[in-house]
Symmetry: C2
Subunit: 194 residues, 2 copies
């Protein structure tokens, strides 16, 4: 069992990848893990403080001109804790909170038009995210090719694939609801294939 707090997990990993300041950790999260593991300043700075107090990271003041700046690096204990968590196959948080699905679940309480409006709205949001992911993709691919960073690229590819699948599901469900035959073959075909 890993005793690292949720935010500590991503912080230690980012430090090990070479990110140095709280500010940069936040930026790195926002362009990479945010989709499946986000964190705000209000979590990052206090957590860095706690991690230093418990000896998992060390802090060095590295001002740039007069801008105060604190660089963090992993201690031996920090390296150990990170490795322990990364190789722990027991713990396995999976949480999804999806307001679109909740509204769909309650769809019997509103009209079909209301349901359709929500499906479309949700699909449009997903399409926006997908567009952003595809825009990052060439960059991530280069990161893989030039810095041998395969895994961030793999995670991105998962995100892209999942969004594509979701968007297609929404589109298909919209089509069926529009035609008034929203049913049956979906699950039948889905469960028989693979």
């Amino acid at each position: 069992m890993s005793s690292l707090s949720p935010t500590a997990r991503v912080i230690l990993g980012m430090l090990k990848l070479g990110v140095r300041t709280g500010y940069d950790i936040k930026k790195a999260i926002d362009v990479s893990t945010k989709f499946f593991w986000s964190a705000s300043y209000g979590q990052i700075y206090p957590e860095l403080k706690r991690l230093r107090e418990s000896g998992l990271v060390r802090a060095r003041s590295q001002p740039r001109g007069k801008v105060k700046r604190t660089e963090y690096t992993l201690t031996k204990a920090g390296e150990r804790a990170l490795h322990e968590w990364l190789t722990d196959t027991e713990s396995s948080i999976y949480e999804l909170r999806d307001e679109g699905l909740l509204r769909l679940f309650f769809g019997d309480l509103v009209t079909t038009d209301d349901v359709l409006a929500n499906l479309r709205a949700r699909r449009e949001v997903l399409e926006l995210v997908l567009t952003r992911f595809r825009a990052i993709e060439p960059e991530a691919r280069e990161g893989f090719a030039e810095e041998f960073q395969l895994h961030p690229y793999l995670a991105l590819s998962y995100g892209i694939g999942m969004l594509e699948w979701s968007i297609e599901w929404y589109a298909e469900t919209e089509r069926r609801l529009e035609k008034g035959q929203p049913l049956t073959e979906r699950i039948a075909s889905a469960t028989s294939s693979e």
Copy 2:
């Protein structure tokens, strides 16, 4: 903009579907929306109290023998608030927290064997959940056929499809990593298809 708290959203919806007590709301969530919208007793009971205080629900004591029991129903204001939220296409929470993906993201920091162990562990968890979903499916299908509750069934079908997609992605990624050629066509084919 809906002012309903996250837990209030699922509570009001469940009340409208005919669920009556805090205890039953929790049970209903656990067999239906839990996958994408969960709640614990520690949220449900205090929230019911708040909803009563703000006039969105009304409480009636309906003891069964000596077991105290409080039944809740929506007030007019509660119906309005629920309907407003259900037909609001603006707000749209989408949050995912997936420890497996975070570990995969940091995969460059460990050995390929460690990554593979984590992919397999995660896939096994997903397979368990999928098994449970498939077990509920006939029940949900009946609920649709007999009580005209289409939408819970649709949400379940989304869950099943998404899990199938994820599991296949994991299996495929494992195969590629095992062969040492984890790459390239995946995204190429994923983005070109569809």
